[in-house]
Symmetry: C2
Subunit: 296 residues, 2 copies
C-alpha cells in the first residue's frame, strides 16, 4: 500500500510537470527569430521537477478550484522561480555554468539576454495572474498578485538572495540565521505555492502556511544534504560550491546525521499541519516525505 | 500669459517630483544595515524629472481620481522605470558608470546588488499596485497590474531593450524600425502613465493613448537630439554613446533639422489628441511641449 501510494505520488508529480510544461509552452509559444522569447522559453521549459507548481495544484485541488485556473497560477509561480534561477546563475551572482545538466541561460545566450529574459519572466508572472482567465473574482486576482509579489520581492525571495550573498563575506552565525535566510530565499515561494489554493478559494490559509514553512525548510536542509552526499552527474549542477566558498550550510551547524533528523522532524510537523484536510491532503503528505527522500 | 503658463508647468512638475519622492521614501523607508533597501532607495530616490509620474498624476486629475491613490500608481511606475535604468546600466548591457551625474547603482554598490535591487523594485511595483490602498475596486487594481505588466514586459519595455541591444550588431534599417523599438522600450511606459487615470476611472483610454504615442516618440527623438547637441555636464550622463557604438539614431535617418521638425509635428499631434478634455488638459499640453524644449 505504501509502495502503491509512492508510485501514485511520483506519477502525479510527473503528470503535473507535463501539464505545467504544456501551459508554459502555450503561454509562451515559440516565435521564429525572437531571441528574447527563445531565452524565456529556454529558461522556463525543460527538466525541472515543478515542485512549486505541484504544490499549487494540490493546494487548489484541496479547495475544489478549477484546474485550468490553478494551472495559470502554477505557471506564473514557475516563471518567478525560473527567472530567479537565471539571475542567480549570472556571473555577478553565483556564476554557474550548469543548471539541470544544461548550460545556464547566460551561457546558452549571453548575459544581457539572460538579464532581460529574467526580467521578462518575472513581469510575465504578474501579467498571467492579473488576467481574468486566472480567476473570475478580481479581488482574488489582486490578492494573488499581492501575495506573489510579497513572496518574490524584498521581504521574500530577492531579500533572501541578498542575505545569502552577504553571508559569503561573513558567514552565517547560527542555524537560526541560515533558516531565516532560507525562509525568505526559498520558503516564501513555497508558502505562496502551498497557500495558493486557499487564496483562490478565499479560505483560511493558516494550516497550509504551517505546512509550507516546515516543508520549505525541510526541502532546503535536504538540498544541503544532497550537496554533501550526491555528485554533479546526479544533481545536474556543481556540488560542494557552498563549502568551497566557505559559506556555512545547515549540515555545518547540525552535522549530517543531525540535518537528516531535523529534516525528518520538519517533515512530520508538515504532515501534522495537514490534519484539518484529512484524506484529501494525501498527496501533500507524500510531497513532504518526497522532500527528504529525493535524490536530486 | 504663455510665460506664466510655462512657469506654472515647471512648478507643477517640480511639485509632483517632490511628492513622488516623498511617496517613494514613505513606501521604501531607510533601514539601517539593509544593503538591498539602500540600493533600492539609491536607485529610485534622487534627481529624476519624474516625467512618467507627472503624466500619471495629470491623467488621474483629468478624471478626478484621488491624489493619494494616483500617487501610488505613479510611485509604482517610477519603480519600474528606475529598475529598468539599473539593469540597463549593468556592464553586460549599456555598461554605464554615470546616471544623472551620479555613479550608477552597480558602481555605487556592486553588480549582484544592482541586479537584485532592480528585481526588487520591479516586484515592488506590482505589490504597490495590487494593494487595496491603490484603488477601492479590485477589478481596477487587477487592470492596473495587467496593463503595467504588459507595458513593462516582453511586449513592452523589456522587449524594446532586447531589440535595442540586437540593433547594436546589425543597426536599424529605417526610421520605422527605430520608432517601433522605442515604442516598446520607452513608449509603452509612457502609454501606461498617460492612460493610468482613465484606467483608474474606468473611462475611455483612446484619446490618452493617442497622446501618449505621440509624446513618447517626441520624447525619444528629443533625446537623440540632446545626445547630439548637449554635453555630459548638462545631461549628467555620457553623450554620443549610440553614435560611438555605430548604432543608428533618429537623427541619422531624419537629420538634425528633420528630427526637430518631426518632434514638433508629434508634439502638435499630441496636443490635438487632448481636444476631448478641453481646458482641463492644459498641463498635459504643456508637458508635450516640454518634451522637445527641455535641455536634459
Amino acid at each position: 500500500m505504501a509502495q502503491e501510494q509512492h508510485i501514485s505520488f511520483e506519477t502525479a508529480l510527473a503528470w503535473t510537470a507535463q501539464r505545467v510544461e504544456a501551459e508554459l509552452d502555450r503561454l509562451l509559444p515559440a516565435r521564429a527569430g525572437d531571441r528574447l522569447r527563445d531565452a524565456m522559453r529556454y529558461a522556463s521549459l525543460g527538466q525541472g521537477k515543478r515542485l512549486r507548481p505541484f504544490l499549487v495544484m494540490q493546494s487548489a485541488a484541496l479547495f475544489g478550484q478549477p484546474e485550468a485556473q490553478a494551472l495559470r497560477v502554477a505557471a506564473a509561480l514557475e516563471c518567478v522561480h525560473c527567472y530567479s534561477l537565471v539571475h542567480d546563475d549570472l556571473p555577478a551572482m553565483d556564476n554557474d555554468d550548469l543548471r539541470r545538466g544544461q548550460p545556464t541561460t547566460h551561457r546558452k545566450f549571453d548575459e544581457a539576454t539572460a538579464i532581460l529574459a529574467g526580467d521578462g519572466l518575472l513581469t510575465f508572472a504578474f501579467e498571467i495572474v492579473a488576467d481574468v482567465a486566472t480567476h473570475d473574482d478580481p479581488a482574488i486576482r489582486s490578492a494573488l498578485v499581492l501575495e506573489l509579489a510579497r513572496a518574490s520581492g524584498e521581504a521574500g525571495m530577492v531579500g533572501g538572495q541578498m542575505k545569502d550573498i552577504e553571508a559569503e563575506a561573513g558567514g552565517f552565525a547560527s542555524y537560526a540565521a541560515i533558516a531565516a535566510m532560507q525562509g525568505m530565499k526559498t520558503g516564501a515561494l513555497f508558502r505562496f505555492a502551498c497557500e495558493a489554493g486557499a487564496i483562490m478559494a478565499g479560505a483560511d490559509r493558516a494550516p497550509l502556511r504551517q505546512y509550507a514553512e516546515h516543508v520549505g525548510l525541510a526541502f532546503q536542509i535536504a538540498d544541503d544534504i544532497l550537496d554533501v552526499e550526491s555528485d554533479a552527474a546526479t544533481l545536474g549542477k556543481a556540488t560542494g560550491k557552498d563549502r568551497d566558498r566557505g559559506k556555512a550550510t545547515f549540515v555545518d551547524f547540525l552535522g549530517l546525521a543531525g540535518a537528516k533528523a531535523e529534516a525528518a522532524r520538519l517533515t512530520d510537523a508538515a504532515v501534522t499541519a495537514l490534519a484539518p484536510y484529512g484524506e484529501r491532503a494525501q498527496l501533500l503528505r507524500e510531497t513532504a516525505r518526497f522532500m527528504i527522500t529525493r535524490k536530486k
